[in-house]
Symmetry: D2
Subunit: 388 residues, 4 copies
C-alpha cells in the first residue's frame, strides 16, 4: 500500500490516492466522516475547527460499498475556498492580486522561511498553505479506511492523551485497548484518567487566557497484532522504525518512543525485560510489555505501544523576533491565536499514522489481492503462531 | 544512495553494498578502520570486543583512492569464523552437526522467539546470528564513507553520551560540534561533561559487579547542514522522520527525539520557539535551537540535534522465565554477561545512522554524479541561501 | 517525481497526483487540455471519443500559474457519469442494482477474466472499469505538465505513427524533432510520410468496414536531451530500461525497441555502430544514431528514439469463444466495435510515457526544488559537457 | 526481494546481495555454478571465457543448505585480478601507475565516453570496468537462486536462441518448456531447431573470420506461472512492464517483445486474440498464446513468452572513427576481437532477468517469510484459481 496526500489549506479541496488496497473490503463512508470529526474536535480548539465540518467524497476505487483493488481517491472540499478564489487561484493573476494576503514575514516555529528559501518562493504563503496541519485531514481519512480493514482482521487501535502542558495522567497496565478507546472517546481531552482530565482542562484554560500554547504526549495502543510484522534482517524493514518515521512526520511532533521509551535510560536490564511464558490457549506471551510490543523490530504479539510528543503550536503570545524577507528589517509580531492546545486532535492524527503503518505491514506480509483470501490467510497464520 | 548490509554474526564475513555514491570522493581506508575501532571501544565492553579488531576490505567501487560512481562493496571478515565453520557452514550437514550450538531456548528481550516463529525456524540460532548488534559494524563502515564525503562538504557530525543508567550530563549550548567531538573522543564513556564522566564509570562498574546492565541516551549533533534538506510537501519526505526511522532501527533503541524533544510536553509555546534574525554575514539564523535544526521537516541551518535512547542490553542477571520451544517447558536461565553497558558503542552507531541519512539527503537534493560538480553546486546553493 | 493515477472508466472522475515537481514551473491549463484533445483524436476512432471532450481541473500544487513544489492534483470529470450513478455508485446497493450491467462473460484479449480471478470479483465490470484505456487520459495530463517543464529546458518530444496494420512509412534520418511533430500533428493518422498517409487511412477504412481491428507501431523521438541521464552502474538505473517499462505499461502494447531495435539481429557490428566525432561548437556527437540515443543505458546526446508496438484492439468481429463465469458454459459473442484502430491515440500516450520518464530522469539528476535554479544548473551542465 | 550487484570487471571480485528471500529454500551451490558455466559457454565465444571458470562463494544468508531469511551474499572472485592489482588497486597510486592501461580513446558503441562525461572521469577505464558484460555474472548467480525457489513452486524457465545474424529458427507451438530447455541445452548455440543450428554456426564462423560481429534474438519461456501476477491497477504494477525493464537493462539489448510482439502491427484483431475455454481439470485456459501469457499486465496462466534483441557486440573490424579525449584528435582504431557473437550467453542472462522478475512477483503476491508456508499458500491459490 502506497499513498499520497495533496492540497493546500485554502485551496479548493484536499485529495488523497491510496494504491494497493485489497479488493473486497467493506467501506463505510460514515465511518470515515466520523474519524474526520474526531480530528476536528478536542478541548482547546478554536477558529476554523468550529466552523467547518469535513466530509469525504470518494471518487474511485470503491463500488457498491466495497474496495475494487484499484486506487481509492478521497476528496475533502474546503468550504472556505469561495473566499480564497483569487488568492489561491490556479490561473496567473495581475500584480495587485499577487500581493493579496502575501506573506513576507516568516513566523518563527513554522516552515515559512525555510520553505521559501528551499523552493525560492517570493510569497511565503506558498509554503504555509501546504505545511499546514490541515494536510493531516487526509491522513485521518486514509487511516479510516485502513481501520475498517484492520477491524475485520481483529486488530484494534486506540489513541489517548497522556500529558498536556506538564499535566500527566496514569494508565493502568490492565486497561484493554477497547477500554482505552472508550474512555478516551468520552473525554474532551482524550484522557483516560478521569482524575487528571479536569486538571488538563484547567491547564488549557489558563494557557488560553494568557494567549499562550502547550504541547503534550499522546499514546497509541494497538491490540491483536499478529506475531512477526516487520523484520530484523535489514535496517529499513524494522516496523518500529517505520512507525517512528510516520509519527515524527506529523506536524509539530518532536519525538517518538516505544514501550518504556526514554525511561529505559534509567532502568536496569533486569527491570526492563519481558519474560516469556507459554500456554496451549494463548501460545507464547510475555508477562509484561516494557518493550511496547516489539522485539528485533518485529511485533511480538503483545500490544504495540507508541508515544509521540507534540510541541506547543507556535504562538505569538510573547512578541517574537522575526525578519521581513523583503526589507531584511526585524519586526516583532504579536497575534493571539485561538487554539491553545491541539494535542487531542494530534492524538487522532498519531492514531492514524500508526494505523496506516500497521495496515501496510499487514498487506506486505500477507497475500493482499482479495480481502476474502487475506482474512483466511491471516487466520491460518494466527493458528500457526499459536501452535509453533 | 541506497545500501544493504549482510552477514551473520559468526559467519565468514559481513558485507555491505552502497549504491549511488558520486564519483570522485577521496576515501581513506584507514579512516573507515578508525570508525570501526571507535564502535568496538567504550567503557563497559567485554568479551568479543576485546579480542577482535575489525578491519574493512573494499572490493569494488573505489579505485586509486577515489569512488568510481559504481557500487562500493565493503567486507569485514569475522576472525572467529574458523571456530564456527561447521555450525555456520553453507552446505547441508548431518543431524549431529545440526544440533551443535542449536538454540531452543529463546532469550527474553531478543528477537529469537519472534524471528523463529516468523521464519519458521527450528533452530533459533538462525535468528540470533542476524539480529545481533554485530550487524551494526557495517552501518558504521558505510557511514565512515559518508562522513568523508560530508567533511568535504563542510558538514560535521559528532555523537556523545548524555546519560547512562540515570546518570545524566549537561551540555552547554555554546559548545561547537568540533568541541563535542573532541571531548567525546577523549572520554571512555563518550561523555562531554567531565564532572559526570566519573559518575558514569562508577555506575557502569557497580552494575557490572552485579551482573546487571544499563542503557542510556546518546545525542548526535550535525553542524554545517545547508538550509532546506527534506520537505514538508509529502509525509515521507520529512527528513526528521527519516532520521527517526534510522535511529529506531538500531538494535535496542526504543525512542528518538529532536531538539527539546519530549520536554516539549512541559513547556509553553512562548518558551519553545526559536526567533529569527538576519545579518549580511550569516543570512538567516535562529537565536536558539529548541527545534533541533528542523522546521517543517526541513533543516533550517541550525545544528541538527537528535537523541536516541538505548535500553539496557538483555541480561540474565536475575534468572528470567522463558520457554523451551521443543518441550514447551518453562526454564530459568542465569548467565552473566560481560558487557554491562554498550551505550558508548551505540553512540557511534547512532552517529553513523544520522550521518547516512544526512548524506542521503544531500545526494537527493544536489546533482550527485560527479563529486567535483556536487561540491561546486553545494557552494553555490550556500551562497544563494545566504543571499535569499 | 512520483505519480499515481486513479479512477474508473465510468466513475465520477479520473484523478492523478504528481509528487515532487519543482516550484516555479509556469503551467498553462490550456496546453494540458490541448494534449487531452490530441489523445481523443485520430482517424479510426468512434464512439465515446466523439462525444466527450476531456478538460482538466487542477485542485492543488499550482497557484497563479506556477507550480508550488507541493503535490499537483489533476482531475478529469467523466461527463457520462450521470448515466452510471447506480451502476458505479460508492454506496452499497440492493441485489437488483448489483446485477445492472454486470459482466459475467469475460472478453478475450482483455484483463476481465484474470482480474476477476486475482481480485476474487463476482462482477467482471470491477476489472473492466479500471483496466480500460480511459486511464491513459491521466498519463497524458501528467505528461502535459512534464512537457511544459521540458520545453523550458529545451527538450523536445514528438511522437508519430510508423506503421498501421502492415502499412509502414519511412522517416528520413534528417528530419528534426520539430519537423516530426509538425508533420505528425497535421496528419489524421499522425504519419509524417504523406505518401503513406492515404494508404493507412484506406487500410483503416477497409478494416472498419469488416468490423475488424488493426494495430501498429509508434515512434517517439526526443531531442535536446543532455548527455548522461540514466546510469550503467546498477541494472535498475538504466534509463532505456525505465522507458521500456513505461511503454510496455500502456494498454495493448506488446513490445518496445530503441534505435535499430529488433533489426539489430540482422546487422553486422560494423553496420550498427555510431562513430564518435568532436567539434568545438557541438562537443562530442555521433555520425549516426543506430543506438537510438543510448549507450550503456545512458543518453548520449543524440535524439532518443523509442518505438512501441500496439496490438489490434480486441474485437469480436469473428465470433470468439469465451466462457460464462457463472455457468462455465461456452458462448460465442459477436459485437462490432466502432474503433478499428486506436494507434494514433496510442501514439499520444506513448509520447506521454516517454515524456514522463525523461522528466523523471531530469529531476533525478539535477537539483529540482526550484525550477529557476534547475534551469541554471542544466545550462551549466550543458556547458560542461560541451567542454569535457 | 531486492538486490544489488557490485564489482569491476578486473577488480578482485564481483558481489551481490539479495534481500528478502524467504527462509527455508534449499540451495545447491553446484546448481549456481552450473548456471555460471552456462553463461560462460556458447559457440562463438573466445578469450577470457575460455580461461576462467566462475564459481560462487556464499558468505551470508544460507546455513546448512537452506536460506535463513536474512540477506544472501554471493561472491565470484576474478582469478585474473593478480595481474591487475596496481591498475585496479583501491589505494591511491603515483602518476606513473595512474597511466597504466588508462583509456583515453572511447570505443564507439560502449558506455566509455558518456560515462566519462557523466561522472567526470579522467580515465575512461573507470567506466569500462563497470559497464562490462562481466557484471551479468552476478545476475545469473542471483537468478540461479531464484530458479531453485521457482522449481519447488513448479515454475519452469527456459531460454533459447531464435535468431543469430539473420538466421532464424522456428519453434513449434506444441513444444513444452521442458523440451525447449533440453533442446537448447544440448545445442552449442542454444537453438532448439536442429535444422537451423548448423546455419547459425556457419554464420558465426564466417563472421568471425571477417573479424565482424553479429547479434540475435533470444526467447525466454516460463511455464507453470500462476494466474494473476502483476496488476493493471497502476502503471508500474504491470508485470510485463517490469520484465521489459529487466530485459532491456541487459548490456547490448535494444528491444523486448511479448507473444506476437512487433508482428502485432501486421495482424488483424481477429487473428491475435486468444480464445477462452474452460474445463474442470484445467480451469480457464486459452486456445492460443498470442499475447505471450499476459492480459492487462497480469499473467493469465499460459506460458510467459518474452523475446529480447541483442545488438552485435561492438567491433573494430572496420576501423571506426573516434576521438582522443585528451587531444580531441580523431583516431581510427582497428582491433579484432575474439567473440563474434555473445548471443547464446546473452540468452542465459535474459533467462536470468526474467527468472528474477517472476520470482519477485511471486514473493510480492504471496506470504514469503517462510518458504514452507509459501509453498502451501501457492498450492491453495492454484486450487482456488482452478475452481474460480
Amino acid at each position: 500500500m502506497r499513498y499520497f496526500t495533496a492540497g493546500e489549506s485554502h485551496g479548493p479541496e484536499l485529495t488523497a490516492i491510496i494504491d494497493g488496497l485489497p479488493a473486497g473490503i467493506s467501506i463505510s463512508v460514515e465511518e470515515i466522516n466520523h474519524e474526520l470529526k474526531r480530528r476536528q474536535g478536542g478541548y482547546g480548539r478554536g477558529g476554523r475547527m468550529l466552523i467547518e465540518t469535513d466530509t469525504v467524497e470518494i471518487t474511485s476505487g470503491i463500488r457498491h460499498g466495497k474496495t475494487l483493488g484499484s486506487p481509492v481517491t478521497l476528496i475533502v472540499k474546503n468550504d472556505d475556498f469561495k473566499n480564497w478564489e483569487t488568492v489561491m487561484g490556479i490561473e496567473p493573476v495581475d500584480d495587485r492580486a499577487k500581493k493579496m494576503r502575501r506573506l513576507a514575514k516568516p513566523r518563527p516555529g513554522h516552515a515559512d522561511l525555510v520553505g521559501g528559501i528551499k523552493y525560492e518562493h517570493d510569497d511565503l504563503r506558498n509554503v504555509l498553505e501546504r505545511s499546514s496541519a490541515r494536510e493531516t485531514t487526509m491522513r485521518v481519512a486514509i487511516a479510516a479506511i485502513c481501520k475498517q480493514m484492520l477491524k475485520e482482521l481483529e486488530i484494534d487501535v486506540a489513541g489517548h492523551v497522556l500529558e498536556i502542558g506538564g499535566v500527566r495522567g496514569e494508565i493502568p497496565e490492565t486497561m484493554t485497548v477497547a477500554e482505552i478507546r472508550d474512555k478516551a472517546e468520552s473525554s474532551a481531552v482524550r484522557c483516560v484518567d478521569p482524575k487528571i482530565e479536569e486538571a488538563m482542562k484547567e491547564k488549557i484554560d489558563a494557557t488560553k487566557k494568557e494567549g499562550n500554547t502547550i504541547g503534550g504526549v499522546v499514546e497509541v495502543v494497538v491490540g491483536g497484532v499478529p506475531i512477526g510484522l516487520g523484520s530484523y534482517t535489514q535496517w529499513d524493514q524494522k516496523l518500529d522504525g517505520k512507525i517512528a518515521q510516520a509519527v515524527v512526520s506529523i506536524n509539530a511532533f518532536k519525538g517518538v518512543e516505544f514501550g518504556v521509551g526514554f525511561e529505559a535510560a534509567r532502568l536496569y536490564g533486569s527491570e526492563v525485560m519481558d519474560e516469556i511464558v507459554w500456554s496451549k490457549e494463548t501460545g507464547y506471551t510475555r508477562t509484561s510489555n516494557n518493550l511496547g510490543g516489539f522485539e528485533g523490530g518485529m511485533t511480538n504479539g503483545m500490544p504495540v505501544v507508541v508515544r509521540g510528543v507534540m510541541k506547543p503550536i507556535p504562538t505569538l503570545y510573547k512578541p517574537l523576533q522575526s525578519v521581513n524577507i523583503d526589507t531584511k528589517e526585524p519586526y516583532k509580531a504579536s497575534v493571539e491565536r485561538s487554539d491553545s492546545s491541539a494535542v487531542p486532535a494530534a492524538c487522532v492524527v498519531a492514531e492514524a499514522m500508526v494505523t496506516i503503518e500497521i495496515a501496510k505491514a499487514m498487506l506486505d506480509k500477507f497475500e493482499s489481492d482479495s480481502f476474502e483470501r487475506m482474512k483466511q490467510e491471516v487466520k491460518r497464520y494466527r493458528d500457526y503462531t499459536l501452535n509453533y
